[in-house]
Symmetry: C2
Subunit: 409 residues, 2 copies
């Protein structure tokens, strides 16, 4: 088995978990970026609370102590099942015996891909850094406007999508805008800033218990976020969004609605769902190919309840451990028991000292849920250095309201 | 005096020192960037040892507790002495009663400004982040080359200029290249990386005692840096540099030679030296205008020894304190004693645990000089948070050889 070539596409939660659990194979990890990204905290980079280096870790450093892992920074353009190779943009094709496909996803614009340029999402570090730059420049612009003309500068942020990403981003923006930016922009008035969270369905955080949704909505309201429910977006332009008959003028629209799987999956010639995800077998393989696995949010994997598992880190990590076990024990299809997801619960933070949590029958909100959220996120960060840095940044911010990463360049 | 309008152009060491020392005036600080930059550590951002947020501090936060200071992020395009206004790129002109001109400098290309695109310098955060990206991508590229073709990828970095900036950058590159990158790029060989420090004069660190120059040269040599002395650059292209008859192929050329003052100074209609700096009066004003001051590396200010003072932070800060005292006491020209620079010494670091220091008759090198360098730089960083972060990054790096800021985005 030592000469089995394992190729892993993607250094996210799924790919990384597989690579770290395989000790006896030759492994190649291919990623477009040079780092593993702790995506759950990406919105904090976008809102200047954390620095990029705090929540990302170079893949080469992650695997420094694992000489069986070879890291390549490259983009996979196609998977050739017949020839058993992965085609790359900058390097020659790579042969594989076992392939793990974990390329992640981008946001879905539901057939309106042209909206992406006006309403970018935050999936990568580049996305987050760009949003941060736009946000900081918008505050500077608004302050300049107020100083020189005295008129209102229309600083309106619209966040489309009321899932955890949208809620966390809206809360962080409201907090940074009102609490942290206030003292730094003395001419800006509270009424100059509006943050609008737009959700197509009847409530925010639809995956959570409805009482927690209500608590989150009330907390956001207190923080000054306007929530628009039952409001599917019908048009997006650089100047605003259309919601049915209502037009919201805004130059700062962020997309946090829905996922679209990587287009790379189209080259796999395997059944896909409408979001582009591969409909995997119970052992996470594609039909008739027991050594090609698809994991993470690239996989349409049906859970016990009959609905597809959500595209979150715990799913990807459990799938990664499951796949690594199959490879380590070289289990053939008949010997494999199906992948089962153990749901450990859900958490979403709304702001400083405010969060909602749901673990089986247990519901929590407010400060206890927030402390839990902090602990869990610190725990899952890779590396001692990042844990210490993020924790100290949070404590610093909690005490001073001076977010740490507001340098424009 | 409370209604005297003081305008400060530039939030560097000079401008910041003036603004912090003036408590009774209305002050406007104008800077192109939104942050004060601790330039002496900029090469550590360029070599991925520190994050941008570690050595920069938003100007608005610096002045949060000083309500008499108004911060504007804008670019000054001209100074109109007759109308007593400063013209800005994005805002209406600003009237001043007292003006402090501290716009800093860019690198000098000695009449070959077209070299700048092939051999950029590091003066701003943008410069540093770009160099970091280029360096990290070059390592990735070289590793890919070695992996797929097995041939040498010519990873040659050329640093032009043997002053403190060039020496510190060469040392940091050698260290990151050999010690930190080595374990992360298993296919790269030691001989794939060359770092060449090019100096036109007969020795590096010409401002230092010649024994310290020799020690620095020997330390750099041990670290694998090739030093070329008496080597004025005669041509720069995207593929390399020409030094007399010798051609050095390199796609990574960094300029660290000489300064050229900000072109804004040309609008002041005051005598300038060949580098574009204003030849200031003994009280740092321009002729016939006792309330326009030029400080920092924009000023040609002759010291006690008859040579112009160097463009370093201590000079700018002492000038800032001097100017602030004149304004606070509203001293008219006849009552002013001339500015006198108190030279506290010079320091340059060569790498981890290696530095040279010179204080009056005292010379130090090696580990003691390096510890001194660390303490002084930590001490002068603004803000508790940045001091703690930089110190912990240095300790972390000293112990692990894993530089903290290698995330590409």
């Amino acid at each position: 088995m030592a000469d089995t070539q394992v190729v892993i596409i993607g250094g996210g939660f799924g790919g990384l978990t597989v690579a770290r659990a395989l000790r006896h194979n030759q492994i190649t990890v291919i990623d477009r970026a040079n780092h593993h990204l702790f995506q759950p905290l990406l919105y904090q980079v976008a809102t200047a609370a954390l620095s990029p280096g705090d929540i990302a870790w170079p893949l080469r450093t992650v695997f420094r102590a694992q000489p069986n892992v070879h890291v390549m920074m490259d983009e996979v353009v196609a998977i050739d099942r017949t020839k058993r190779v992965v085609r790359l943009q900058q390097s020659p094709p790579i042969l594989f015996d076992v392939l793990i496909v974990a390329p992640g996803s981008r946001h879905a614009y539901f057939g309106h891909e042209e909206w992406e340029s006006c309403a970018p999402g935050i999936k990568t570090m580049t996305d987050a850094v760009r949003l941060r730059e736009k946000m900081l420049m918008a505050f500077e612009e608004a302050e300049r406007h107020r100083t020189t003309s005295g008129s209102s500068p229309h600083l309106t942020f619209v966040i489309v999508g009321g899932g955890p990403t949208g809620v966390e981003l809206a809360g962080a923006l409201a907090e940074i805008g009102r609490k942290a930016m206030g003292p730094d922009y003395p001419h800006l008035r509270t009424e100059d800033l509006s943050i609008i969270l737009v959700e197509a369905g009847p409530r925010i955080l639809p995956g959570f218990d409805s009482r927690l949704s209500a608590k989150a909505a009330s907390a956001l309201g207190h923080m000054g976020v306007t929530i628009k429910l039952n409001s599917p977006v019908t048009a997006v332009t650089p100047d605003g969004v259309q919601i049915g008959a209502e037009w919201i003028p805004s130059m700062h629209i962020v997309w946090a609605a829905g996922n679209r799987a990587s287009p790379l999956l189209n080259t796999l010639s395997a059944p896909q769902d409408p979001a582009g995800r591969i409909r995997v077998q119970p052992d996470l393989t594609i039909p008739d190919d027991p050594w090609i696995f698809v994991i993470g949010d690239a996989a349409h994997c049906v859970g016990e309840s009959g609905v597809p598992l959500p595209g979150v880190a715990p799913v990807a990590m459990q799938q990664g451990r499951y796949v690594a076990a199959l490879i380590n024990h070289h289990l053939q299809p008949p010997e494999r028991s199906p992948f089962l997801y153990a749901d450990r619960g859900m958490l979403a933070t709304i702001g400083r000292a405010r969060a909602v949590a749901q673990f089986g029958p247990i519901r929590a909100s407010g400060f206890p849920a927030w402390i839990l959220w902090c602990i869990i996120h610190i725990f899952f960060l890779i590396g001692f250095r990042n844990r210490v840095r993020v924790m100290s940044e949070w404590i610093w911010y909690y005490l001073t309201f001076k977010p740490g990463a507001r340098v424009l360049y």
